[in-house]
Symmetry: C2
Subunit: 341 residues, 2 copies
DNA sequence: CTGAAAGCGCTTACAG
DNA sequence: CTGAAAGCGCTTACAG
């Protein structure tokens, strides 16, 4: 065998002619143990690189100190900022995190939930896959261990949910465009009634209504699986209208960047002829030219908040499952794709 | 208690008036068990949503089927593509993955290694933090469990290492510039002798040498912590030279994008006056205009390969630790920032 | 074909 | 102040 075995309590006990119980207590600073014994044990432990087997420890207490995290796509920059918050906070609180990618496949998502339970995670943090139908599996999980949803959530699942102020953020983004003199503001959103898209659309409508700007269905465009390419396509449609919009609010940055690329192609001046605002403050938003005005979503804070609530629920279990929604504030960042006020 | 306990073998046994051993064997398709018993057990197990406690299982065999992964920064797109490969492949092979971010802090990295051992991971996959000094801790880990390095590696650590063909990739990138008629090719690299930077620089030198192009120290620029901003700064220096380069090879995409931004500012035509080539094929490379020529690094493949080697070593332990380096082929992608041949 | 017992590494109530 | 014993959920050699 090339690999060294880990040192165990038993070995320490044998070396010192003590019982396993005593060694255990010495290492855990139990008050009963004499200082001299405690010292001896600790010295030997250090010398032999003893490190407790957390498995065995958790085994007794039914706690693994491992949390499960499921996200649709690990490559989205926004997701990675959330993960940063999750990893950092969980590590300082003494938990490790198992991450899985559902790839927006709700079948896969169910399987992952299942294996996470099998691996004995103490709780699960999750952003739902698109078109999640099988709520049943998720409810079943929530009945066993604490579950917290973030970003992609659903009010059909009774649990803590951490989101951004989607509606308000969209409201401010659109109001900003109105304040810079724009009156014909298009929106590019998703067809399916995803929580996020729906909320952002509501914010759009409220901004127009409150500023007495008529709603025009012709400049409300929807697409499935919103993306850069889709942004381009829909921008082309908007450009072909008799009455072009003078601003476009895209509910994701990638779509907004597609819009900018389409506008470039047709030599449309940004923001003079058409202003553009996105949503997310992805890293792309400062690479594209003109730099994109967008809504900054504080990913790290979302991650930190979500994991804190989860761990709180793990360590202080409550009897009742209540849907509690925590809203994290966002921040509109105005850049060159819209007028600076 | 609101949370349901997980079903155990004991409960199944009690329900059926069988022993725990029999139930265990039935569930594991042991040949000794009669079909009727086996059926009964399986039906009840399904009904009660029994799922084995992998903790208890692993506890006996000293296998947790959990792997540790440490990366410097989870937000780099390239890193996320590697993680995708790791997650996907490990899940199909029946392993789960704990991810930690060292933030290029080698102190933190050592701690992470330590807690991963404590959590009983079966093996560790790691990209080294910049300026990793305490090789000792890493060697200590490698003596206990299988360790595989990827991307950021070091030949001082005797273990399997999965990297791209850094030297060759840089060679082809520079040769491509030479083939398009460029003769004064600058390089922007890192000061510290990181494995990657060193190799890419070697490729640069070899390309120039083989094509009999003189090396000019004035257009070999180095920086610490290479980034977009540093790319801009160094490009400015190059532009201020009496004899400007006619091409710039930046050893990372972000630096290359900084270069493009600087060239834009000084109205330099790309690629006519100065061509630019980056390294990584990050998502930015098609957002920037002109689109960036760059070296595509197949992240998923790197991840998959690394995890396969790790699991191979876990499941078939060898006595000897040998440094084995696996090189993954890259692919030069020519876009608008350099001439299409 | 089925069961009782040991053991994986640890903690802790119970004795002494 | 220290130790023997039970138990966490599972598997498996040993009996029968």
């Amino acid at each position: 065998m090339s690999k060294k075995q880990n040192t165990t309590l038993k070995e320490l006990a044998n070396h010192l002619n003590l019982s396993i119980s005593t060694v255990s207590r010495a290492l855990n600073n139990h008050p009963d143990i004499s200082a001299s014994t405690s010292d001896k044990v600790k010295r030997l432990a250090k010398k032999l690189h003893y490190s407790p087997n957390l498995f065995a420890k958790g085994f007794r207490s039914h706690k693994t100190h491992i949390l499960g995290v499921i996200v649709p796509n690990i490559s989205h920059y926004f997701t990675t900022t959330i993960l940063k918050g999750i990893l950092d906070e969980s590590e300082t609180l003494g938990y490790r995190v198992i991450i899985s990618e559902s790839k927006n496949d709700d079948q896969k998502q169910s399987e992952m939930l299942q294996t996470m339970i099998q691996f004995g995670v103490d709780g699960i943090l999750m952003a739902l896959a698109r078109k999640t139908r099988s709520i049943d599996d998720i409810l079943e999980v929530a009945s066993r261990i604490p579950l917290v949803l973030f970003d992609k959530v659903s009010d059909k699942i009774p649990c803590t949910q951490v989101v951004i102020n989607e509606e308000e953020a969209a409201y401010y983004a659109v109001e900003h465009l109105i304040n810079t003199g724009k009156t014909r503001i298009a929106i590019i959103k998703e067809t399916e009634q995803s929580f996020n898209s729906k909320k952002r659309f509501q914010g759009y409508l409220r901004a127009l209504n409150e500023h007495k700007i008529p709603i025009d269905e012709k400049i409300i465009l929807s697409t499935e699986d919103i993306s850069l390419e889709k942004g381009k396509m829909l921008a082309n449609i908007l450009l072909s209208l008799k009455k072009r919009p003078d601003a476009i609010f895209a509910i994701t940055d990638s779509a907004a960047i597609g819009v900018i690329k389409a506008l470039h192609k047709f030599k449309v001046n940004i923001p003079e002829e058409i202003a553009v605002v996105g949503f997310s403050n992805s890293i792309h938003s400062t690479i594209i030219s003109p730099k994109l005005s967008t809504v900054d979503q504080p990913g790290e804070k979302i991650g930190r908040t979500a994991i804190k609530y989860l761990i709180e629920e793990i360590e202080n279990p409550k009897d009742d499952m209540i849907t509690k929604t925590i809203e994290i504030k966002t921040n509109l960042i105005v850049r060159d794709s819209s007028f600076i006020p």
